[in-house]
């Protein structure tokens, strides 16, 4: 934080001490979510039934598999950023904050990898 220009005096203040890039990426993933979530909900509405056979049949097609993998990336990224804001707003002890954010990263990356791997298994398994 400098003492010069007005912007220099306010930079780094605020609960998180940073954030413009975070803010923009959050909006970009929000737009991504809108596209992929619409695809998921329309697909679900059109699906004949929700049994294993129909879901696997749908999910293993190249279009659905790609869309759902992109959905996992966009939504998990967006949710991770949103939960980070929540943590920054309400947790003020630096150690706790660091621990929760580390756990959040593990959960998001672990859950996201598991979801993407599951879809890939179905998509590649179809032709195997």
């Amino acid at each position: 934080m400098g003492n010069g220009t007005p912007i220099g005096r306010v930079r780094g203040l605020g609960t998180a001490h940073e954030g413009a890039h975070h803010w923009i990426v959050h909006r970009m993933t929000a737009i991504g979510n809108l596209v992929v979530m619409s695809y998921l909900l329309v697909s679900l509405a059109l699906l004949g039934d929700y049994g294993h056979a129909s879901v696997v049949e749908w999910l293993s097609s190249p279009l659905a598999a790609t869309a759902i993998i992109l959905l996992v990336i966009s939504v998990f990224w967006h949710a991770r950023m949103g939960l980070q804001v929540l943590v920054e707003d309400y947790l003020h002890e630096p150690g706790t904050k660091l621990a929760i954010l580390a756990a959040l990263n593990l959960a998001i990356i672990g859950g996201g990898a598991f979801a993407i791997f599951s879809v890939a298994t179905l998509a590649f398994g179809r032709t195997a």
Binding site: M1, R9, L13, R27, A30, I31, N33, L34, M37, L41, L44, A45, Y50, G51, H52, V55, V56, L59, I68, V72, V75, F76, A79, R80, G82, L83, L86, G111, F114, A115, F117, S118, V119, T121, L122
Partner: protein
């Protein structure tokens, strides 16, 4: 050296939550956070379970279907879908406000009132399509 050190310590503090007269924009604001966090904490685990169960085979998938198809499971799914539609309408409102539009008092109030109502209507429409087809 924070700004605060240079300020008059006797200046009044900001009034806290209960002092404000509630308006629709406050409800939309807190619902946006609650639904976003709710989806992240409840919806995403269900999504992962669904995909993983489908990949693991008919047996795992049957367990998933039994749990999520039960009355309690369906209630959770309806809740998550409402969270999505509500978050989507307030999120779109966010994006409009973020580009600097929609701050006129009557416009702002109108969309703040409309946003959660549209969210409920979309949720109802979504389940109507699923249940009536």
């Amino acid at each position: 050296m924070s700004q605060r050190d240079q300020q008059n310590p006797a200046r009044p503090l900001s009034p806290h939550l209960q002092i404000w007269r509630w308006g629709p924009h406050m409800l939309v604001s807190i619902l946006h956070r609650a639904t976003g966090d709710g989806m992240a904490l409840v919806g995403l685990p269900i999504l992962v379970w669904w995909l993983a169960a489908a990949a693991s085979g008919p047996g795992s998938y049957a367990t998933f279907q039994a749990v999520m198809g039960s009355p309690l499971g369906l209630l959770v799914l309806v809740g998550v879908s409402w969270a999505f539609f509500n978050h989507m309408t307030s999120g779109l409102r966010h994006l409009v406000l973020d580009i600097g539009a929609g701050y006129e008092l009557d416009t702002n109030r109108r969309w703040a009132t409309a946003s959660p109502i549209i969210g409920i209507l979309l949720t109802a429409a979504f389940w109507a399509v699923i249940l009536l087809k």
